[in-house]
Symmetry: C2
Subunit: 260 residues, 2 copies
């Protein structure tokens, strides 16, 4: 196990729910000996990937991660185009929009467009969620080959909310439905009382894949309003697919030529 791997293992301990960690936290989370933890934390701190609060002595992501994070996909055409369109739709519908990417079987929120409706924003950018419990997450998965999906979902199928697919078979059934109808939605899954509809968008030239969703309160919306969201999303999807040259028929593997 390389030094870099160990460093990354430490960095991956940080999350929205654990934005800072003590020496002991890190030691427990990584399961490494004290000496290794000590040396690695110092290295990470010295190089700017972590900072240490001089008072509490706790560690947190450092200035360098902030700088690099600002650079991440700053110039991404697919993302920028999608965000522009999403803003329009959110302004019209008043609901909150999300754009996320896949990482393994999880999705990470990249952009959020707050709506005018007073639904509190629950998933800030950077938030990780199993892709199998969200509308846009499943929409993204549905674009992958069955083989790739199988490889991504842990053998020990994760514990998910009642309305989400409870096992791999249910998941595949749901994904096949998305593939057939082109529509993906969710209700009362990741968050109680919150529903969403989403779709996946691939770039024809780069093969990048993003998931776009509109999120709303299930109680505060009528079926009519949700149908309106479906229409808006369908229109946005169509427009974006034309703009980005999304080759709907192909899986992402075929696009990028990778058999991961």
């Amino acid at each position: 196990m390389s030094a870099l791997t160990n460093a990354i293992d430490i960095l991956r301990c940080f999350s929205t729910s654990r934005p800072d960690l003590s020496f002991a936290d890190v030691q427990v989370l990584t399961g490494k000996p004290k000496s290794s933890t000590s040396r690695l934390l110092r290295s990470l701190r010295d190089c700017g990937l972590l900072e240490q609060d001089p008072h509490t002595r706790r560690y947190r992501p450092g200035l360098l991660t902030f700088e690099l994070g600002r650079l991440h996909r700053a110039h991404d055409d697919l993302l920028a185009t999608a965000e522009r369109e999403l803003r329009d739709v959110c302004a019209r519908t008043g609901h909150t929009g999300y754009i996320a990417v896949l990482d393994g079987y999880q999705q990470v929120v990249l952009r959020i467009v707050p709506g005018s409706n007073p639904l509190r924003v629950v998933n800030p950018p950077g938030q990780r969620t199993p892709a199998i419990v969200t509308s846009n997450g499943r929409a993204m998965l549905a674009r992958l080959s069955d083989q790739d999906i199988r490889a991504r979902v842990p053998l020990d199928y994760p514990k998910v909310p009642a309305n989400s697919p409870q096992n791999f078979t249910e998941l595949m059934a749901r994904l096949n439905e998305i593939r057939r109808t082109g529509v993906s939605d969710a209700a009362d899954e990741a968050i109680e009382g919150v529903g969403s509809q989403g779709f996946a968008l691939a770039s024809g030239e780069s093969g990048e894949l993003i998931g776009i969703a509109i999120s709303y309160s299930v109680q505060a919306t009528t079926e009519l309003e949700r149908a309106n969201v479906r229409r808006e999303l369908g229109a946005m999807a169509g427009k974006l697919r034309r703009m980005t040259g999304d080759p709907l028929g192909q899986t992402i593997e075929q696009l990028t030529g990778l058999a991961s």
Copy 2:
């Protein structure tokens, strides 16, 4: 030189002006052999610190940096308090506000509060600038011990705009003036036609140091208006110092007990 150091050297090649890099770029910028560059880039990509555009094959900061960057100082009290106050002042004056931190002899923009005046925002968050050419940068330096300042400024004094201190002696004269008067300003330095006034704020309990500035167009403001900014900043500084327990008399080294 450790593997981590080499990895960081690569990461530090990315910047606002160079948000993505090719293999060759990295090789030139780091001066490492091809084989090392190849292996290191692959490791960084595999662990999520970098991503590679499947089409152009260029590298850019990865998903992990985005996630960690979102976590950086998310919970920082000093920063949040300062930002709140700065928002008020910016709303009242219409000018643009900046909050930055020191890193070596450079500053990095952490937060920006756009004003209502149509001065284009030139320094996005994450931007690095020599601290010696900005009002808040110099205000931060002025809070350090002379010894620390000497250690931070490169022996080969950087090339700076005409209105900035041209050598170490001029810099120290300017910093001593800030120490004496408590006022730091800049005009036509980092950006032509742009002026700013700033101050540094230290947290009494953590010893953290941030620099706060209000920035405006020199042409579009009167001396009266600039005096108003000075008053506003003075009031904000006083209020924030009381709120955060800023021990003005002490250098940051004395505060944190470090003789870096």
